[in-house]
């Protein structure tokens, strides 16, 4: 039956393109501009740690990645929780559509919108700031995209697990911990490194070989694991009594 597997994707994209869902993305350009100028100011006044990133463009790409992961993750938590927890969505599973599309449709819709915003944001950064010969741009952008995809996956898992607000608070804490744990000045117990997403390590060591590759695979695995776990919970929740 034509369209039976894209029904929820199209419904979700239509909802996500409404102002209340697109609006938060508009916060990213001013926040990014503020961060880039603040970091340039700090670097000019002796904050030597910034030099580790090569140049302002690389730092700005990571700032964009962090901000977008934060916004996309919070939005995912709120959207997925509201969507999968609602009566209209549950009843829509009586339509002749596959059950899996009820999970992967909204998931792909959020991922698509977040990816589009990531491309626009990183494209603007790359166009506006001077580049560097130290790193491959494709490699850098590919790695900077991973936290965004991870944020959507984690949002899907948390969104089905709890309320939108609770999921968003937990997600924000996990994101901050994930980024902070990779910074050289912050030490976390070794056992925690297996639980929290290696976002910070990806940022600081992503360009090293082979460590960067391992960290990338670790983060992609973390995202895949939680998106599959979300799918299992969704299946169980759908046929609850």
């Amino acid at each position: 039956m034509k369209g039976c597997n894209t029904y929820h994707f199209r419904e979700s994209v239509s909802i996500l393109l409404r102002t209340k869902w697109v609006g938060p993305y508009l916060l990213i350009p001013p926040m990014l501009a503020f961060m880039v100028y603040a970091e340039a100011f700090l670097a000019a006044h002796g904050a030597g740690g910034m030099a580790a990133f090569g140049n302002r463009m690389v730092l700005a790409v990571w700032n964009a990645s962090f901000l977008l992961a934060l916004v996309a993750g919070i939005k995912s938590c709120l959207f997925f929780s509201g969507c999968w927890g609602s009566d209209w969505f549950r009843n829509s599973m009586a339509l002749p559509v596959s059950r899996s599309s009820g999970y992967w449709g909204p998931y792909l819709a959020v991922l698509t919108v977040s990816t589009a915003v990531f491309i626009l944001t990183v494209g603007a950064v790359v166009a506006a700031l001077p580049g560097t010969a130290r790193f491959s741009m494709t490699h850098l952008i590919g790695q900077a995209y991973l936290p965004v995809a991870w944020a959507v996956s984690m949002g899907a898992f948390l969104g089905i697990l709890t309320t939108g607000t609770g999921a968003a608070v937990f997600f924000s804490a996990l994101l901050l911990l994930g980024f902070a744990s990779g910074l050289p000045s912050i030490s976390v117990p070794e056992w925690m490194l297996y639980l929290i997403p290696p976002l910070g390590r990806l940022m600081t060591r992503g360009m090293e070989y082979p460590q960067g590759l391992y960290v990338s695979i670790g983060l992609a695995g973390h995202a895949a694991f939680f998106s599959m776990l979300g799918r299992i919970l969704y299946g169980a929740a759908l046929r609850r009594r």
Partner: protein
């Protein structure tokens, strides 16, 4: 020809007496019961969105909940099944398109004409929260009227309607019988009871 709907030894909630019924092509069967007797549980079990306690349900020969048991089957729930975030038009066009196997834009004219006949053409561009219950109830019957279903399962389809609305809804429900079978769940006073081939009671 196997029955279009076959329910055997179904019971949910547990205090409910076992329900066994077969609905064949061209039949309309009404299951009545007071609020809380398990009517909404039954439609959800038939749609595969509720795990029921005991019994078996088959629709068009397929076990309830499978994709095959939902193809060509329209479920109309008591609470209309509209998303609050999209206009009624988008939702109706997509649902009707889904049943007919065509893109939503291909059924735009059909949905327009159908809603015009009901006097609800202007309501299509509103969000569900902006419409009254009676209009929403009638509009939620679009997949039933336009989707050419083989089976229709309806939960209190006339509950929120005025007498004019009831007559309109009857005109939408009854043609389905020519093509398939209808199982309606309703309280005893529903006008569908008068047109039913069989009436069963949930007690």
């Amino acid at each position: 020809m196997p029955p279009y709907i076959s329910i055997g030894g179904y019971s949910d909630p547990p205090r409910m007496s076992h329900l066994s019924v077969e609905v064949n092509k061209g039949e309309i069967v009404v299951v009545t019961g007071p609020p809380g007797s398990g009517k909404s549980n039954l439609i959800k079990s038939m749609a595969g969105i509720r795990r029921f306690i005991r019994g078996s349900i088959r629709i068009l020969g397929a076990r309830a909940g499978t994709l095959r048991s939902r193809q060509g089957v329209v479920f109309v729930f008591q609470n209309w099944n509209f998303s609050p975030d999209l206009s009624v038009r988008i939702q109706l066009e997509r649902k009707v398109g889904l049943y007919l196997g065509v893109p939503a834009r291909a059924v735009r004219l059909t949905v327009d004409r159908w809603s015009e006949d009901l006097g609800l053409r202007d309501s299509l561009d509103f969000y569900p929260s902006q419409l009254n219950r009676s209009d929403l109830q009638l509009l939620s019957l679009a997949p039933l009227a336009l989707g050419r279903p083989a089976v229709a399962v309806l939960d209190e389809p006339m509950a929120n309607l005025s007498s004019v609305g009831v007559s309109m809804a009857m005109d939408l429900v009854l043609p389905v019988i020519g093509n398939g079978a209808v199982l309606a769940l309703a309280q005893g006073r529903s006008p569908l009871v008068n047109r039913a081939d069989r009436v069963l009671s949930l007690l």
